[in-house]
Symmetry: C2
DNA sequence: TTGACTGCAAATGCTTTGCACCATT
DNA sequence: AATGGTGCAAAGCATTTGCAGTCAA
């Protein structure tokens, strides 16, 4: 999803397209990692030094509510990290470097559904995170 | 795991078996839910009104380090919730009531392993939580 | 005896909010 | 012009910590 797409979705949702919001949306659209609030704040300041932390928190909160962004709370760090909500996937976190690898798996999606159903529930959300250490290549 | 088992493991780990710790271990051993720090504190006070919140935090922290207890951070609430670390399982959280249902699934265990391996990682930890709404029984 | 443990209260650190001013619509 | 958005600084809140007294071993 591009920055323009995000801007349009915000406008459609009735938000005013202010300067701070444009900057934040652009940063999120271009991020290749999963930045924390602090990260977004730092990067925003490079575009526009007057942006405040409060605005970053408020904006990310709004985007999360609108479902445009996904809020992660990986257990290897203690603050939230964000990513633009695009295609459904899960994460593997490198315990040594904190690097996040994304993956998809059709089989797991099916089993999740089935487990929830068997327990008498409709699956609404799901959190699946793997934490691991890089394997040393053998030989 | 009984309270006695937990006490023994703590002693083996070199911890002194004090009154507050006995109370907290007993509460954890008897809990059928996944109590928050606050919950453990409230329940502890009924056994011994002099126990402080700080001690509950410190004790739960120690137990987590020793691996005797598992610290959850379900995304429907914002504080940590604990359970005695017994058999490996995952959780489904009822989004309407907050109720936690435990489940196991062999298939998922295998797929998790395989995914990590395929990505070049050794699986160390994992978090799998389903969030859902109770299905209405049809007819 | 003595080092670990505890309660208390103060400190922390991330996040939220009240308020007055400002900008988008 | 009206309303929603912003920066700032203060407030919140769960959790942690310094300290002096206490207790298990």
């Amino acid at each position: 999803m591009t920055a323009i797409d995000l801007e349009q979705k915000c406008i459609d949702a009735g938000l005013k397209m202010t300067e701070p919001r444009k900057v934040i949306l652009s940063i999120l659209a271009h991020a290749t990692d999963h930045p924390s609030v602090e990260d977004v704040y730092e990067r925003s300041k490079q575009e526009d030094a007057s942006i405040s932390m409060a605005t970053v928190y408020r904006t990310l909160g709004l985007l999360d509510e609108l479902g445009l962004v996904y809020r992660h709370e990986f257990s290897d760090s203690d603050h939230a990290r964000y990513e633009v909500n695009s295609e459904h996937h899960h994460h593997l976190i490198d315990l040594e470097t904190g690097k996040v690898v994304e993956f998809k798996n059709e089989q797991i999606e099916k089993i999740k559904q089935k487990i929830a159903q068997d327990l008498g529930y409709e699956l609404v959300e799901c959190r699946l995170e793997l934490y691991g250490k890089k394997l040393k290549k053998k030989k």
